[in-house]
Symmetry: C2
């Protein structure tokens, strides 16, 4: 199941009195090469977003400022993660439905993604998501 592949990954933290430094390198700390970086900001407290899955995209999500929750669902079970510090992140594998909520005011959500934007990679309808997950299970794609 896709949810079993998703996990919190702790990142290196280089402590320095001038400010701390954390880094993420392609296919080292995370299991994919970084192609695209995007971020959510000017987020009103309590906002929600997400509600989609990807067919091929790998992502890694970091709370750069403030905090928020991510709920992951692989069509069989779901799990809620609370992100609140910038020295760890959540890896999200393909075929994982996700939504984000409980944003603190002024939080910044950074996402590293394995490919550039491609609308055809999105599954935006939960019923379509379930159907494709079941088809993959039947085909043995994710045994």
């Amino acid at each position: 199941m896709a949810l079993a592949d998703c996990r919190r990954i702790d990142l290196p933290k280089i402590l320095d009195p001038r400010g701390n430094l954390t880094f993420v390198e392609s296919s080292r700390q995370i299991p994919f090469d970084i192609s695209r970086v995007y971020y959510l900001y000017d987020v009103p407290g309590g906002s929600e977003r997400g509600g989609h899955a990807h067919r091929g995209l790998h992502q890694f999500v970091i709370a750069m400022s403030g905090s928020f929750d991510i709920v992951l669902d692989d069509g069989g079970s779901s799990e809620r993660f609370h992100l609140s510090r910038s020295f760890y992140g959540l890896y999200i594998s393909p075929y994982t439905w996700r939504y984000l909520d409980n944003f603190s005011s002024g939080s910044v959500c950074l996402v590293l993604a394995s490919a550039n934007f491609d609308e055809a990679d999105y599954i935006r309808d939960y019923d379509v998501f379930l159907k494709e997950v079941r088809a993959r299970e039947l085909s043995g794609a994710i045994l």
Copy 2:
């Protein structure tokens, strides 16, 4: 000169009442592929850092939260940039000496880099930097 290659780059900004979104894609908004992402955080107000150049690394710096200044110097002239919003960033080409100062309390500085960490790529002595810049000029490497 290297400073002529450095520039502020405005990024796409997708406005949304749930929070705005900005993205950066490898070799699209910025002139290199992203290999490493790192960030400075828990920065005390007024901190300074930097004071080095790279021989081959391309970088793109974004103020994800708060603000700071970056001073760039190509051995011939220097320029100060103030970064304060997350929908633009500063591209820094190889052979550019840089330091960062004037950090606001709690600011977050995000850096996208074209290669993984390599100590041999750093020039940490300003006199060595000037010497290499002069040698490159004589060899016609950056005419």
